[in-house]
Amino acid sequence: MDNKRILLHDYLDDALPVDIRAQLEHNLQNNPELQSLLELERAKRTALAEAGSTFRQETSLLTDLAKARVLERLGTRARPKHVPFWKSAFTIPVPLLAAMGLVFVGVLALSFALRSPNQNQGGIDLASVNQGTADGLPVVSSPFTFESKGVELTIQLSDLNQLLSILEGGTGSREVRVSLPQNLQLEPVGEPMLINASERR
């Protein structure tokens, strides 16, 4: 892939209509002005990305904290870091391990002995199923209301998830795609213009 094509791929995404893309590729091959224009655009984007990165770094620090707290509040657990089996099994002395194992077996035996008649018959406790998802996580109804300093706050879970995804730097949901009516041929009136609404005619 030559430099021109690399440059082109920096700017165009797959959503661009194929015929326009082909036309632009052709123009780019033969038009140094367009190349320099795209290079200028790339320089602008780099400068903008650098300006925005400081803010993103600040928000990313908040993200982990926010997610863990929200999950905790919703009754779920933050997923622990993976600890290899062999490492976790030998971090405490063997006698202590043995004692813990015995206690575990005892509790297991006790719970087996005290099972409810319904469970002993192989039935399913529907009440416990309804309280949780298949992952064992509790179901939280939306909106989610809690009280703070005497004020009742209500959070829509969809909003909460969206806020978290924004702070996590998630992509995909930020883009808006709108189709204009197909029966109208548009043409430029002049140069693009950005003004404050107070300057509206």
Partner: protein, 172 residues
Amino acid sequence: MKKTFLALALSTACFFTQGLYAQAGNPDLVTDPSMDSLLEALKEQALVLRVQVRQIDPSGRIVWFNDMSRITVHGRVVGFKLEGSNIYIDMQFTPYRRNADILLLVQSQIWIKGPDQQRLQYNTHLSSVLGDVVLYYPLGRRKADGSGPAHEVEMEISIVPYSSVSAGETGN
């Protein structure tokens, strides 16, 4: 045989117990219950960027209208693509906090095919303006007397704090 079974049961029990122990002692698990203040902080940072697009005919009549909004935060881009039969406009709106005001940065790339479907026009634009309600004309703005044969595309972009907009108005 019994000894082997006992050893196996013991090691299995130890394994599961260790798993529970490791999970309960995970230092990354934050148990601070003050989520209310955190949520408030999150909501205070968020903004709702609303874009209303109008296509205005030469007589000044609005012939097409679209209204969309997205939640974002300062410094985070909201992409907006506008597609027509002979036009493709790729815009990026980025709100920045500037003292007490909002600075909106707009980048756009515009591809337009001419009436003969052969000539392709490309335009790029970068501009910024202070204000929480701004107007953007990606194809330019007609003269003050409204004259001109072409349709005008007007985009009204308003930025308001998320906390001041009810959940149903975010349009997401």
